[in-house]
């Protein structure tokens, strides 16, 4: 039934949309339409909330709140490139934060290294924990052939359980002031420093994934794992590296969360789980792998954070937000499905047309 509805949607509609958004291929068109929809939501917010939303203070706080969300989404998106998923990102972030928090609240280490040295050590250990967790994920996935979904489901319990076990489920509080204040530091008094850092990370990450052999291998593996294997790509190394990077990114997010809340506990940031998947899907990362641009994740995160802040201003409860995120995720996946179907149909039609033309071109000289 749905097929019939979609088939009825005429190609000219898409041609018009193509012209409107200045896109040539249909894949990116689907993306643009999704963005246009979010933008429309934003305009709606602007109209309904007006300057109570669009004022420097709110916009600055939106940028302030983005870093950990963006890093977790990037980690999720990276896993999706290979057709996997990383459900353990929040648990890794928590675990890294907990280790860092223990070091930062230890008077003995502060006495030995000074405050600066202690913070540096804590961050290094936190990142190392994330790296180890990521390597562990990658190793299990590659060596035992367990689907990433199952692996990260298990390690999510494992890491969260480890964190709960170590802390006894209690939060660790009382980080050094220098560390907590660093999160609200600003560049030239306007742009949050943390946001500039995130921007740099995204630019480097997307450039690297686009231009390196590693990045190309990731996408190829996501498109077809057997194809990647037979083209001689060292898939084990590639996959382990990608999950290790995911772990590192999650750990970095954990360190930022530690500074923001001035405390760390298993369960902090649990809501990011659904949101990170939503962002990755919305940014055009195909959950089945092989498609998407990592750089798209950043604007999507900013847009979503804007919407989230607007919801908060409008006084929606966390449950209402959760419902809207879930509904949006379903809606966008359904739309993506239709876009891909229409695109596939158009491509088939074009291929048939070209073949017919080629056949004509072949036969015409023969007759003449």
């Amino acid at each position: 039934m749905m097929d019939r509805i979609m088939n009825a949607l005429p190609a000219p509609v898409f041609r018009v949309l193509n012209a409107m958004f200045g896109t040539r291929d249909e894949e990116s068109l689907a993306q643009t339409v999704l963005y246009a929809m979010i933008a429309a939501v934003l305009v709606l917010i602007a109209l309904s909330l007006g300057t109570s939303f669009f004022n420097p203070v709110i916009l600055q706080s939106v940028l302030q709140q983005i870093p950990e969300f963006a890093l977790l989404s990037l980690a999720m998106g990276l896993a999706m490139v290979t057709g996997g998923i990383d459900l353990s990102v929040i648990a890794v972030a928590n675990l890294a934060g907990i280790f860092a928090a223990y070091i930062m609240t230890s008077p003995a280490i502060e006495a030995a290294l000074g405050t600066g040295g202690m913070i540096a050590l804590a961050c290094a250990v936190g990142l190392f924990v994330g790296l180890l967790a990521g390597l562990f994920n990658g190793f299990i996935i590659v060596k035992f052939g367990i689907p990433p979904l199952l692996t990260t489901l298990g390690t999510m319990m494992l890491f969260a359980g480890l964190g709960t076990g170590i802390t006894g489920g209690v939060g660790i509080t009382g980080m050094p002031h220098v560390y907590v204040d660093a999160i609200s530091a600003q560049l030239a008094g306007t742009v949050p420093l943390s946001f500039v850092m995130i921007l740099a990370i995204f630019l480097v990450a997307s450039w690297y994934v686009k231009h390196s052999v590693f990045g190309k291998s990731l996408f190829l593996y996501g498109e077809s794992n057997v194809g990647a294997l037979f083209s001689g790509i060292r898939i084990e190394k590639t996959l382990i590296t990608s999950y290790a990077i995911s772990g590192l990114l999650a750990a970095a997010a954990g360190l930022i969360m530690l500074a923001r809340f001035n405390s760390m506990k298993v369960g902090f940031g649990d809501t990011f789980q659904l949101q990170a998947i939503l962002v990755a899907v919305l940014a055009g990362m195909d959950p089945y792998g092989g498609r998407g641009r990592l750089l798209n994740i950043l604007p999507t995160v900013i847009l979503l954070q804007c919407v989230e802040s607007a919801f908060t201003i409008a006084g929606l409860s966390p449950y209402a937000k959760k419902m809207i995120w879930g509904g949006l995720l379903l809606l966008f996946m359904a739309l993506n499905f239709f876009f891909h179907r229409v695109v596939a149909k158009q491509q088939t039609a074009r291929a048939i047309r070209q073949q017919a033309q080629a056949a004509d071109a072949d036969t015409t000289p023969a007759k003449a």
Binding site: G154, T155, M157, G161, T164, G165, G168
Partner: protein, 365 residues
Amino acid sequence: MKMKSNDMPHPQTKSDAPLPSGGTTGMLKAALSRLGQQSTVSMLSFIIVAYIVVVALISPDFLSWATAFDLVRSGAAWMIVALGVLVVMISGGIDVSFLANAILSAYVATLVTKLTGIDSLSFAILIAIAVGAFVGTINGLIIHLFSLPTLITTLAMQGVIHGFLMVFLNARPITAGRMPSSLRHFGTDTLFEFPSGAGYIGLSVFVVPLIIAIFTTWYLLNRTAIGRAIYAVGSNKVAAMRAGVNLLKVNLVIYGYAGALAGLMGLMMVSDVRLVDPTTLIGNELLVLAAAIIGGAKLTGGAGSVPGVLLGMTLVTLLSNTLVTIGLSASWSRFFIGFALVLIASISHYQTKRRNLRQLNFENV
């Protein structure tokens, strides 16, 4: 390092089968694959018995009817919902919306029972199952129509269902005093009782729905055409479609059935704790998934059995409830469950990977 472990005697390995060449790793691989060949059920039974023996040695009080009945009471509802998850996983899908579904069904059932004044347990159960099945069917419909990844869909549905309950139904906790009396009795009634120490101990009536659910699930999976179709879809979707399996029907049955069991489970949970709190349950989905996977279900589908998932849930229930008895803090329970999950998944998937590679099947490289 390598030499050292080579020198170590491996009597079992030697007596059983010819060693694959390759030294330590070869032996390790052989041992792993042998572990994988053991049926999940016997391996799990062994682990559970061993664990119970250890617990009983540390604290002899553990071996008593009271403990056993208590574990049955606290585990029955979870086993029921795990059976639903098993059916989903056999089809190659995964469901994380069932606990949101359970609490929604239980809330609606309690509310309707209160509003209509029909204070009857069977009426409440009927409504809970109907609501659960309806929500589950929506899951199945969405997944089928748009051919979406099941995890992401049901994760989104979890948010939608819970948000719907909190926002549109404006759910507030219903305390024991305002709960229908039939539900309160459901939680405390026993099949039989006998005197023990200071008071009476008895087997909770929860075993009745549990046994019914076990039989229905077993019958559905093993004795009906749709049950075989569920296994077929999980093993190879394309082949199942070519063989004439109606995917829409299968999807609706799977998710509807899982939803119905979730509804039943929700009602049992609120009767057990004598409080309908719309914010509970959610967040424990992983425990149930872990139980199903430990019990031999595979995310890739086509595998899993009723006895396996029952044993898996038993292990998870034991690990969640008895760590304190052996002197460990209860906060470690998730760690151990996660560990068991990763370990058992590693063994079974490693086995599959090796077999596939031997047959030049590069599906899961």
